[in-house]
Amino acid sequence: MSLPCGYYNANYRQDMAIVRTRPHWVVLILGLAVLFALPLVASGRMLSTLNLIGITLILVHGINILTGYCGQISLGHAAFMMVGAYTSALLTVHLKISFWMALPIAGLGAGIIGLIFGAPSLRVKGFYLAMSTLAAQFIIPWIVVNVRPDITGGSQSFRVPAPTLGDITFNTQTSMFYIIIPIACLMTFFAKNLARTRMGRAFVAIRDNDLAAEVMGINVFRYKLFAFFISAVFAGISGSLWAHWMRVVSYTHFELHHSIWFLGMIIVGGMGYTTGAVMGVAFIRILDEFSATLSPIVATLLPAIAGQVSAALTPIVFGLVVLLFIVFEPRGLAHRWEIFKATYRIWPFSY
């Protein structure tokens, strides 16, 4: 009996490799080269959108680890992002700590807060856990606004300096691109690898059946807390980058609907896939840009109905596309990508 044609792994090392074939390496290197050369040709708006995608991607990877791999739902990730943003802002403004130091501290700070709000995951799951993480979305902003408004700015916005490195100030979209995108790439690599470790397999076991996982000897509570910690670290780093990219932070930047949309991104992209996070974030952010760009064009082309159409177009296009997408591809873009890859591998000889 002969095996179907295709590429076969002959040892464990090949089996574990992320980049397995020479064409993979070529595509990866070319892709990274094109990505990092983009600022040479891209407009400021495109770079701004890419920076935003990069920042959001880091956070959504965190949600993917927590929800997609470990099966723990969170409605408080915008609040964890806020912790990172304010930690970084306060350290750089009040303590004059460098952004490069503030960034990991922001991640750790958010991670610790994530642990606290993840603690109820021992006792509750599903919608109940969602409700308990929702508490973060109310408690953290309240603390930021009310506890020490003299330090945090309270309900007023808090200005954040641009990152610096020697004499270089990263105050343009291009310069921030070279901070955000490498970090996003590293975090993507980390997220991808995490799923392939002992911890990642424990997460998946807990997601699939936490009772069975416990019977197999997995310390469920410990790993759930790990998932919350790592996920919140991702959110904290994302928040720090947000603060220094936006150059201002306010508690209104991190509201409940942001948390819901972050979950929406991973649903659209495909839960449990690293590529799903990338695709979901890119899809939603580009759709956002597209629908916002479309309405003034329609308003210009159809001035008679400009007021009515332009006001309604953005939310309608946005809502409709997401709705249709979820109806027709509930397993996300990444699933579609997997089908494409499986088909492509044996094309044109499907035997």
């Binding site: 935003l52 936006m246 150059r247 201002v248 306010s250 003034p296 007021g307 332009s310 953005t314």
Partner: protein, 410 residues
């Protein structure tokens, strides 16, 4: 060497021609630098939380620019509006600003009709040598840089209200006031310590501060607490439908002897349209002539255009429509003066900014008294109004607002 008369005349003619050319050529070059188009940009929340008020920004810019262009534009150069809808999303607004920044010709002024966006762009305007006009959030305007306020700061207008309340208060005891306002940057812009101190200095006792979110619809508990504390007045800095739950709660608990004042820009026609019965008799602050003063020539002009273009009396008849008109006309005047003073080649955001500081008691279309100084970069005059018979009518003339911006910005 002796010079002949012929040579002397030749030298004189040559020198004269050279001097003449030196004078004429730059003028020709200057004339050639006259642009074919000038742009004003706007980033507004036309479909997000503030859509009820800001929604008509696009229509307003189109109509106002048509008006300005029919009157010669900027020294013969037409003005084109560039309007972006950010849907209340600050990240999207920053991306849109990047488009504005790279546009050719680059818009000379960017108007942002959402506080948080103005705050995010404050430093970027300086780095990009751009000029912005933003709604009256102190954080968007100060520290003094390249951003001007659209209207007096919310805190300054609250100060004007305190002045007026002190003057009109008849009883021997001090008036008691409670804040019931949004738990947002905008709502809390009247809750600076300076606001409390100013009220106290005017003999007004602040008896309570209640916060609610824009999504709250039942404020009975908040309003009841204010009644229990003996408040005579409720002051709120909210927009669109924001005042409605307060006014409904006042009616529902049968609290007839309390008065309500809406601060800032939020209390306007869209609010009256949403709740005509509840808003009847309520007070507000308004730094311009409004839709219900049709005898005012400027309002008459705007109303004519409004009707001519078939704009919606429900959706477009908001304060944003008026404000866009006032500032488009103001910018026509300011930019024309810059061209007169420094020529086309030096017409840029920074020269416009300098010219803005020379705006003293100027009223575009006679509708809104404006004065800008290097110290105070937002307008300084407002007036007290009241809803009477479904119309917003003035109770006072335009008056100087006290400067009670936060101390850190002085």
């Amino acid at each position: 060497m002796a010079i002949t008369r012929r040579k002397f005349l030749k030298v004189c003619a040559g020198t004269g021609a050279a001097i003449g050319a030196a004078g004429i050529v730059p003028k020709i070059a200057s004339a050639q630098k006259k642009p074919s188009l000038l742009r004003i940009a706007c980033i507004a929340d036309m479909t997000g939380p503030y859509a009820a008020i800001v929604g008509p920004a696009h229509n307003a810019f189109v109509d106002a620019c048509q008006y300005v262009n029919e009157r010669g534009g900027i020294k013969g150069v037409p003005v084109e509006p560039v309007v972006y809808d950010c849907g209340g999303k600050i990240d999207l607004a920053v991306s849109q600003y990047m488009s504005i920044r790279e546009m050719k010709p680059k818009p000379l002024v960017t108007i942002t009709i959402i506080s948080s966006v103005g705050e995010a762009l404050h430093d970027r305007y300086v780095e990009d040598k751009m000029m912005g006009i933003n709604v009256a959030s102190a954080e968007a305007i100060y520290p003094k840089a390249n951003t001007f306020g659209w209207y007096p700061l919310y805190s300054d207008q609250f100060g004007l209200f305190c002045d007026w309340l002190k003057e009109t208060w008849k009883e021997p005891r001090p008036p008691k006031l409670a804040f019931v306002t949004w738990d947002t940057t905008y709502g809390k812009a009247v809750l600076y310590p300076e606001c409390y101190e100013y009220a106290k200095s005017k003999g007004i006792e602040i008896v309570g501060t209640e916060l609610y979110t824009p999504r709250d619809i039942d404020l009975t508990a908040h309003v009841t607490r204010c009644r229990n504390k003996g408040a005579d007045w409720i002051f709120s800095n909210t927009a669109g439908s924001g005042p409605v739950p307060i006014l409904k709660a006042i009616k529902e608990i049968g609290w007839n002897d309390v008065k309500y004042c809406g601060g800032g820009v939020g209390y306007c026609w869209s609010t009256v349209y949403i709740a005509p019965q509840e808003t009847e008799g309520a007070y507000g602050l308004m730094p311009w002539y409004g839709w219900d003063e049709p005898e005012q020539p400027g309002i008459k002009t705007i109303t004519n255009y409004f009707n001519m273009k078939g704009r919606s009396p429900v959706k477009d008849r908001t304060v944003t429509y008026l404000m866009v008109w006032f500032y488009t006309v103001l910018l026509q005047d300011v930019m024309s003066k810059v061209v007169d003073a420094v020529g086309w080649e030096k017409l840029n955001s920074l020269t416009i900014k300098e010219q803005m500081f020379k705006v003293k008691n100027y009223s575009p279309l006679g509708c809104m008294p404006l004065t800008f100084t290097k110290d105070r970069m937002s307008p300084t005059k407002s007036r007290v109004v009241q809803v009477q018979g479904g119309k917003i009518l003035p109770l006072t003339d335009f008056r100087e607002c006290p400067d009670i911006r936060p101390a850190k910005f002085k």
